[in-house]
Symmetry: C2
Subunit: 239 residues, 2 copies
DNA sequence: CGGGAGGTTGAGAGGCCTCAACTCTTGTGG
DNA sequence: CCACAAGAGTTGAGGCCTCTCAACCTCCCG
């Protein structure tokens, strides 16, 4: 049930059987949760962290006029809101984008884990550090890339992250997000997202029907995005 | 020499004398570094992390056409690039914005610290988690706020962060950044930054001469920015 | 005194926004 | 089995925010 997380962590550094057992011990059995449900409310004081066993979630912040900004999309195997172990109060909300299975990890047990397993603690620390690196890439894309480059970058990122946990098929993957949600992630309007997707299709870079995205021309898509996956930290370097 | 860092950490949770000594032990004596110097290059493999003893630095990423996006401004007492302890390869560069004093902490010693002092390790983990929270606020500002709101938010953030380490005087602080640098931080052009600053002045929200920023009307500035300092995690809650 | 960096201002262009209408799909109930 | 509603996607038109280009000013320093 924690396979995707362990698969991802093992790409970065070796986990001992004891550590794997300790990691499994902090997690409650997964619960099934429907799509479009808040699993952690903005400003809440959290007492546990959540692991996505399957499905897609989004971190978001809401503005006073109701508009929304999604700040990260999380996928199967992501320890979303692990940061609340230390932040205590949530600076953003987390919602499901698809039906999900979610495991809960009480902060008390996570704190015990950091006392007894310093190496595993660093591996979890690294999870949050990669989140920050993803945020930085989004900042670069939002601040300095064209709308098309930004969308292309998001697709490249999701493809690589989903592939790392076995959620791709060939050059395609499922992305059951509405164009309105994509707009909230990119900081663009729904109408403009629609036109950008049309442009990617017209240029023969992707096939995109329903929730199925197929990347037809990876080299050109990655070039438009100036995509370099180093920040996802999927290479093996012991911590 | 690590006073600002310890002052900031102590706002969040109590540090024992042993922990303070351990923290000081990982740091080399500070070096003086001029303004506009790269202290960590993009894509470099880091073997140590850097503490800002005094001065201002910026994390940045460079695009293929030479344009730049600053993803965070770091101030006195910030453990900039602590994340490299776990990331190993830098996903961004770090440069000084002003003359700085910088202390270096070898990763080997930091790793030892996490083995022997789990609580202190969590405090350092929290430092990187706050970085991520700052990134998220920048994403919200960049994606969904007006240019004016974005600039106002940056000023509010810097004021609160500088105040937490005793670097403000009344409602003012030093911000020796060129408008071009501010543009790189906000994702705007230099010309537009100039016009936004002029608007803040015209509206009587700030006085801004040379590198001196004086906030005249904090309530209105914070309202324009929709600023809520919770994400900076300066409240006391034990980790 | 000249040069360079930074700041300021004007003018025109363009990317993205808003508003609005229309289409398509899906699910529900009569 | 069809009518209808609701949600999502698509397209057009006009407008605004921000960009680029360019000129000029100020200040500082060699």
């Amino acid at each position: 049930m924690t396979n995707a997380l362990i698969e991802k962590l093992s790409r970065r550094d070796q986990l001992s059987p004891v550590e794997i057992a300790a990691l499994k011990d902090v997690l409650d059995p997964p619960r099934a949760i429907a799509a479009n449900v808040d699993i952690m409310r903005e400003h809440a004081h959290a007492s546990h962290s959540l692991l996505i066993v399957s499905g897609l979630t989004a971190r978001y912040s809401t503005l006073s006029d109701g508009r929304r900004q999604i700040t990260e999309i999380n996928v199967t195997g992501d320890f979303v809101d692990l940061h609340s172990l230390l932040m205590k109060q949530m600076d953003h909300g987390v919602m499901t984008l698809t039906p999900c299975e979610i495991s809960s990890a009480p902060h008390s047990r996570l704190r015990d884990l950091t006392e007894k397993h310093p190496h595993l603690a660093r591996m979890l620390w690294l999870e949050t550090v990669v989140d920050a690196a993803i945020h930085r890439q989004w900042l670069v894309a939002m601040g300095r890339r064209s709308g098309l480059g930004h969308l292309a970058h998001l697709l490249c990122e999701l493809y690589v992250r989903l592939k790392a946990v076995g959620q791709t098929e060939g050059a395609g993957f499922d992305l059951p997000l509405t164009q309105s949600m994509l707009g909230d992630a990119l900081g663009l309007s729904t109408v403009h997202v629609n036109r950008l997707i049309a442009e990617l299709r017209r240029e023969g870079l992707v096939r995109w029907n329903q929730s199925r995205v197929e990347i037809i021309n990876w080299p050109r898509l990655a070039a438009i995005a100036e995509f370099d996956p180093t920040y996802l930290r999927l290479q093996n370097e012991p911590v």
